[in-house]
Amino acid sequence: MAKITVIPFGPQHPVLPEPIQLRLELKDEKVVSAIPALGYVHRGLEKLVETKDYLQTVYLVERVCGICSFIHSVAYCQGIEEMMGVEVPPRARFLRVIWSETHRLHSHLLWLGLLADSFGFENLFMQVWRAREAVLDLQESTAGSRVILGVCCVGGVRRDIDEAGRDQIKATLDRLEQDLHRIVKPILKDYSVQHRTVGVGQISRELTFERGAVGPVARAAGIAQDLRQTGYAAYSELDFQPVVETAGDCYARMLVRFREMSQSIELIRRAMERMPVSPISVPVKGNPDGEIVSRVEQPRGEVVYYLKGNGSKNLARMRIRTPTFANIPALLAMLPGCELANVPVITLSIDPCISCTER
């Protein structure tokens, strides 16, 4: 009988953008089980709400994640608005969709580059990140910052997109669509890419559901669950349908994200066409009182905000459940039985965001 060897994968590892440790129990080259160890980048952001007022907290929650920052602020602001009975102007709801989808685009492009890097496809990594740069420039010119936009506020948004901005968005999306078209064939049809992803890290629909996976991980296993179906912000007016694949392996997760990028481009175009003329924010008076759960769809899946106000300017409690936290149990089910060499690819296939998870 082969001896069991324990190998620490991380917290510092060339393919991991952020620190997480997986203690891998191996029998020869095959993984038998994996035990995660978290806690390397805990910052105590939830505790900080006690020292900031609820309007300042918008800038705090944007810093939970360095990739999907805007969507965090949307989740938080929607929760506070619901608690205080604030009606957001329609144009602000559409603007929230536009910036949420640019965030999804650059997040998926970043992930694709990292995945390519994890199996040594450096050229693709460069190609994808070059395409991502256009999205970041777009965010900088429309919102004033490259990643942490700071444009969402309780009661609406702080910036409008004018005609010149709309033209720039259209031009950028056209160019990005061409770039994606050029890289989609080399990635999806390439022998090496298929060899490293097809059938690797496979998880069944039932097990995915049982483990409570969210986002592209769940949708790649056939679960048609996407919070945008609930129609928050302006999604109810954009004919949204979730992207679903059934294979449940790394290739299916890549396919889901590829199709979501095309879908995001289409959603932004539709949002710009259907965006009405109205104010972009309403004044908010008073302090939040009561408790609420706010859920939105991030690039990695569903984020849940629990907010509790006590009538003062500071919230009594804020709790954030991020998508990576929900996807780690599914990751632990994908790893047993795989080769050690496939662990980095499988780990990256859930698009782990550890700073989000530890807050």
Partner: protein, 99 residues
């Protein structure tokens, strides 16, 4: 097998996507929140900006009138610019040189 060859040739014939920073700097994009500036002639030193600043990057005193920004704490959110009753604060697109 040769799916990527076309892209490789295209990359070889294109200009680099990067620039030789710091010798060549990108022109600032209009509307970017690059750095915070104050017009001291208009400021009444009410201190509202420092009270609202989420990062506690501003310190304002009266007698003597001082307005101090800690550029390493500032998160360039622009909240102070919005709340300033005298509109003496503004964000410029160039990134500040704090070296």
């Amino acid at each position: 097998m040769f799916n990527f060859v076309g892209n490789v040739f295209r990359n070889l014939t294109r200009k680099p996507a990067t620039r030789p920073y710091p010798y060549q700097k990108r022109a600032p994009i209009a509307g970017n929140r690059g750095h915070l500036v104050i017009d001291p002639a208009v400021c009444v030193y009410c201190g509202l900006c420092s009270k609202r600043c989420p990062a506690r990057a501003l310190a304002v005193t009266r007698k003597p009138n001082t307005w101090t920004l800690d550029p390493y704490r500032c998160i360039l959110c622009g909240y102070c610019v919005e709340v300033c009753p005298k509109h003496c604060l503004s964000l410029k697109p160039e990134h500040g040189d704090y070296s």
